[in-house]
């Protein structure tokens, strides 16, 4: 029961990039405990995604398909995942941290009688007993924990593990029939998708993010959209902006929202509350534009510009256009 099982997450019929970070974690863990790792995909029709998952050196890619799995229901998926782990001898189950895995994996842990570690940032040690580092207190404290049970479940903070590279050869695809049925006590009603032409926030190489300094919807979108378009960037927001209804909830960056680590993070008109910094401080290059010279965001920014965003951003767009046309 020592194998590691990665639960792949699917979005728009593709493997989410964050899953590649969970694969890196699984490879490292399997190496340290002297076992191997596999990848599992769940849903109604996931075979084409499975092909994508065969390129990373997994022992197997399990395809668990059923009409019942068309829509995600926590209790049903938890049974399917735990059953598979037991069938294939996987004592360790992991996935990249997301609303999907955070909802699902605690139930899997309960079914497996396993301890669970949320948001793993690093594995400590080269051989068992292994320990894991994870953030607490909005990232102000890092705890080192040990799982005392034989089995363990993890959500992995994708920004802390590099994305797995493709390797030679292909993993074998193994089809599994889950023993699941439609639950009587819960029904999927619908999904109101946030439509966006922009790259996914957690996968974008450039993120442009705004705070309450941009005042209202017109200020926020009017200023950030053209800059994001120019840079091919995703747009992010602070909790205050989301609470005010200026931006939808899934754009929130911070400890209770999304954690991002792009190559370039441009923070505009946001002060940099502890909660927000926890979600972006691992970005490679951070730019801050804020008219308050004492804003905490400047303490983590590589390049700070004390200026009124409404003046500076249009100028920034013009300057970048000039540089890009050279």
């Amino acid at each position: 029961m020592k194998d590691v099982l990665v639960i792949g997450e699917i979005a728009q019929r593709r493997l989410r990039k964050a899953t590649l970070s969970a694969i890196t974690f699984a490879k490292e863990l399997a190496g340290k405990i002297g076992s191997s790792f596999s990848i599992a995909l769940f849903g109604k029709d996931v075979k084409d995604v499975a092909k994508e998952a065969t390129r990373f050196g997994a022992k197997a890619v399990y395809v668990v398909e059923s009409e019942v799995l068309e829509h995600y229901i926590a209790s049903v998926y938890a049974k399917a995942v735990a059953d598979l782990a037991n069938q294939v001898g996987a004592g360790f189950v992991c996935a990249a941290s997301s609303t999907f895995s955070r909802d699902l994996l605690p139930r899997v842990a309960a079914r497996l009688q396993a301890g669970m570690v949320s948001e793993v940032m690093r594995i400590v040690g080269d051989a068992p007993p292994l320990r894991y580092k994870r953030p607490m207190y909005a990232g102000n404290v890092i705890a080192t924990v040990e799982v005392k049970t034989e089995k363990a479940v993890f959500t992995v903070r994708a920004s802390e593990f590099a994305q797995a590279q493709e390797v030679e050869g292909a993993s074998q695809i193994v089809e599994m029939k889950p023993s699941v049925e439609m639950p009587q006590n819960v029904r999927y009603v619908g999904f109101a998708e946030t439509i966006s032409e922009r790259p996914d926030l957690t996968e974008a190489s450039v993120v442009v993010s705004g705070g309450r300094g941009l005042r209202d919807k017109e200020g926020f979108w009017g200023l950030l959209s053209p800059l994001a378009d120019l840079l091919g960037a995703a747009i992010g927001a602070t909790r205050a902006v989301v609470d005010a209804g200026i931006a939808p909830n899934d754009l929130q960056i911070g400890q209770t929202g999304k954690v991002v680590a792009p190559n370039l993070y441009i923070a505009i008109g946001l002060s940099g509350a502890i909660q927000h910094l926890a979600g972006m401080k691992n970005s490679k290059v951070i730019v801050a534009i804020n008219k308050d010279p004492d804003a905490p965001i400047f303490s983590v920014a590589d390049y700070g510009l004390v200026a009124d965003a409404f003046k500076a951003v249009p100028e920034l767009i013009e300057e970048i256009k000039k540089v890009k046309s050279l």
Partner: protein, 249 residues
């Protein structure tokens, strides 16, 4: 209807916490303690549902006797009575917390159990889901809207990519996200009334729960600090540095 809600006492989420020099814990001297913000959303949601449909809100906390003060806030907001299971964070993990709460659920038999989606100290985001699995009940986590219709409850969930809606049969487990509501501030008359409301204290041992932990925290440390860089004077200088120094555009 009967609604059970959580009230965890946590370090003020706006305070800057530091780690004890020996790594054994968090430096709490001089810090204020408050209700976990997500629990406040859960409490408010319970009270609003009872205001609309009748019934009572029961608030549960696991903590030392210090937590009574914070439970009184929940009672002043409108909860009817409280249950304090005596324990401290050092002797708990998410799994044991969930097994204790599942036991309290079995004793109280509520229609709904609404928890904060995570506590802002541990940040694990596991307890509601674990409770649901241990009780074999349906869950709707990260709720931004809750509507009760007869024996069913319609819950909108904040998930990656949008908003999902589930219909659960009660009893059910819900975890509250920040957009669910704006928690009310207790009025002075209600604060006075809350002092007379009952808070029952129970020892973990009385509940017959195995106190063995599945995850142990060994030590705590401060995160690596990111160093601030330079201030630029103009937009031109910024773009020049991004292109030639950082090479990101």
């Amino acid at each position: 209807m009967k609604i059970l809600v959580t009230a965890k006492r946590v370090v003020d989420p706006d305070a800057k916490v530091t780690v004890k020099t020996d790594g054994s814990g968090i430096q709490t001297t001089g810090l204020e303690f408050k209700l976990n913000p997500f629990c406040e959303n859960a409490i408010e949601a319970g009270i609003q549902l009872v205001e609309k449909h009748g019934g009572e809100v029961v608030v549960v906390s696991i903590g030392t006797e210090d937590a009574i003060m914070n439970m009184r806030t929940a009672l002043a907001m409108g909860a009817e009575r409280g249950i304090l299971v005596k324990g401290s964070d050092e002797t708990l993990d998410s799994d044991l917390t969930a097994r204790i709460l599942a036991k309290v659920f079995e004793l109280e038999k509520p229609d709904l159990f609404i928890l904060g989606k995570q506590a802002v100290d541990g940040d694990s985001n596991q307890v509601a889901q674990l409770v649901a699995e241990y009780l074999g009940l349906p869950q709707a986590c990260f709720a931004s809207k809750i509507e009760v219709m007869g024996s069913k409850v319609l819950v909108t969930r904040e998930v990656d990519g949008g908003l999902e809606t589930l219909e659960l049969s009660m009893p059910a487990i819900i975890s509250a996200d920040l957009r669910l509501n704006t928690p009310r501030l207790p009025t002075l008359p209600n604060i006075l009334k809350a002092k007379k409301k009952e808070i029952k204290q129970i020892d973990i041992a009385e509940l017959g729960v195995d106190p063995t932990l599945k995850v142990e925290t060994l030590f705590y440390e401060a995160p690596e600090q990111r160093k601030g860089g330079v201030k630029v004077k103009t937009v031109q200088e910024l773009v020049e540095k991004l292109k030639n120094e950082a090479k990101v555009i």
